[in-house]
Subunit: 275 residues, 2 copies
Amino acid sequence: MSPSAHALFAGEGRIERLSPANRGFAYGDGLFETMRVYQGTLPLWPQHLARLRVGAQRLGVTLPDAAFMQAQIAAMLEGVGAAVLKLLVTRGDGGRGYAPAADATPVWALSLHPLPVVQTDLRLHHCEITLAHQPTLAGIKHCNRLEHVLARAEVVRAGMDEGVLCDSDGRLISATAANVLVRRAGRWFTPPVERCGVAGVLRGWLLAQGLLEVADLSFEDVKNADALALCNAVRGILSVSSFEACRWHAHRETAELSMPLMHAYPMFVPSEVSP
Amino acid sequence: MSPSAHALFAGEGRIERLSPANRGFAYGDGLFETMRVYQGTLPLWPQHLARLRVGAQRLGVTLPDAAFMQAQIAAMLEGVGAAVLKLLVTRGDGGRGYAPAADATPVWALSLHPLPVVQTDLRLHHCEITLAHQPTLAGIKHCNRLEHVLARAEVVRAGMDEGVLCDSDGRLISATAANVLVRRAGRWFTPPVERCGVAGVLRGWLLAQGLLEVADLSFEDVKNADALALCNAVRGILSVSSFEACRWHAHRETAELSMPLMHAYPMFVPSEVSP
C-alpha cells in the first residue's frame, strides 16, 4: 500500500484539487470518521456510517451516495492489509459568509494512513483545557476540533501518552482521541456525551453488548477507579497505567473486557496488529 | 477587479494547491480576518493584524512574516476600489491525529470578494442555538465556526436579516457575523467576549474611543433597549428595526454613533459604499 494515498471527490465525481472556498477549510464545516482497515475491509463501517449520518443530519450536510462511497473505499483498500482510513465529508464549496448553501455538493476526501503502533499501559495527562457544553454538536464527529488539538498539544508538552478531558463543571468526558472506561465495583462506566464529547464507535459497541454503562463521573471517581482504560475504533481497548498520582498495575479487568471485542473483531487481537 | 481572486501560500512562498492534509481542512485549525478594502488599502489592517496575533498566540500557530503578508495584500489590492479581503491562516499541513507539529509552516490564503450591499434597518431572528462557553477560544477569530454556520442557517430559514445569539445562560453575546450594541439610558453597551463570542475590530475601536462600554446584558435588556445596532468591520454600524415583538423606529442614536466612525474611516460613509 501507499501509506499516503488519498482521493478527493465532489458528490459522486472525482476532483483533483481542494478549493480554497471549501467550507471545511473556512469553518471546519464537515464531519469525519477514522476507521481501521483489516484485510482490505472496514469491519466497523456500518457503525461509522451510522454516526456520519447522525452528524450530517445535525449539521444539514448532504452525504455522498453511500454505495458510491463504499465503492471508492473498496477500490482504495484493494490489497491493503492493516491500515487506517480517514473519511472527511465537508458541506462543499461556498462563498464568503457563514450561510450554508442549501444545495451545496459535498466535497469529501479519503486518505489512507499507516496503522499506528498500538501502545498499552498509557500514562495520562490531566488536560488544563476543558470541553465546552454544546449539545447541538455533542456526540457527532464534526471538524471543529480546536479543543482537541490544544488538548493534544498539552499531552505532547507533558511528554505523556494521552490526556484526560473534563468539561467546565469538572466532570470526566473523554481522552483526546478515545473514550474513557472506568472500572468501579465490578462494572465498567463511561461518561455521557450529550453535552460534549464524541460518541465513539467502540464505546457504542461496548454499550450495545451490555459490557459498559453510561454514568456521570467525577474526577474523584477516576482516581478511585479499580482500573482505567481507553477505547477507540483504531486502537481497540487500551489499559491505563497512570493518571496523576494514581497507578494501576493489574490490567486483568481490561484484558477481560477486550475478549469479546477480539472475538467479534479479530483485527483487535494483538497478534493481528502488524501489517 | 476580479471578484474571486485568490492566492495560496505556505510560509513566505506561493503554492498552487491546498493539500487534503491541511489542518484547516481537517480540524478548522486556523484563524481568519475579513477586512474592508478602501481605495486599494485596508484602513483597519493594524487592528486585524493585532487580533490575528492574539489568536495565533492562543492557538500556538506560527504566523507568516507580517511584511511579506502586507506585500502580498498590497499586490492583490492594486487597482481595487471597494471590496472585501479575507485572510485565512492555518497551522499548515499535518498527518492524521490532533497533535500539532511544532514546526509546521503556516499555509494561508487571501481571497478577494465583492463588497456586500450594506443593508440597514435589520430584522433580527432569535437563534435557537446558543454559544458554548470556551474561554480558551473566546474573543479570537478562529476557524471553528459550526455554531455560527448553524445560527446563520436559522436566520436564512426564518427569512430574517441577522440573528441574535445568546450563551447557554441566556446572556446576550452577539449577532451571527457582527457585534451587538444596546442603547440604554443614553449609553451604548456591548456584551463581554471572555466566555464566548468574537472581539470584533469595530467593537474594539468603539470601546477605545469611549463610545461603547462592556456590560453583561440579558434578553430583557435587549427588549427594553432604546435602540439596537450591529457593527462589523466590513459593514460598519447598522441600525436594527425589529427583534421579536420589539420595534425601533428612531435611529438617531445609531446615526450619531456612526458619525465619529465615518470621520475616522471615510469608507463607512454611505455615499462611499458603491464600488
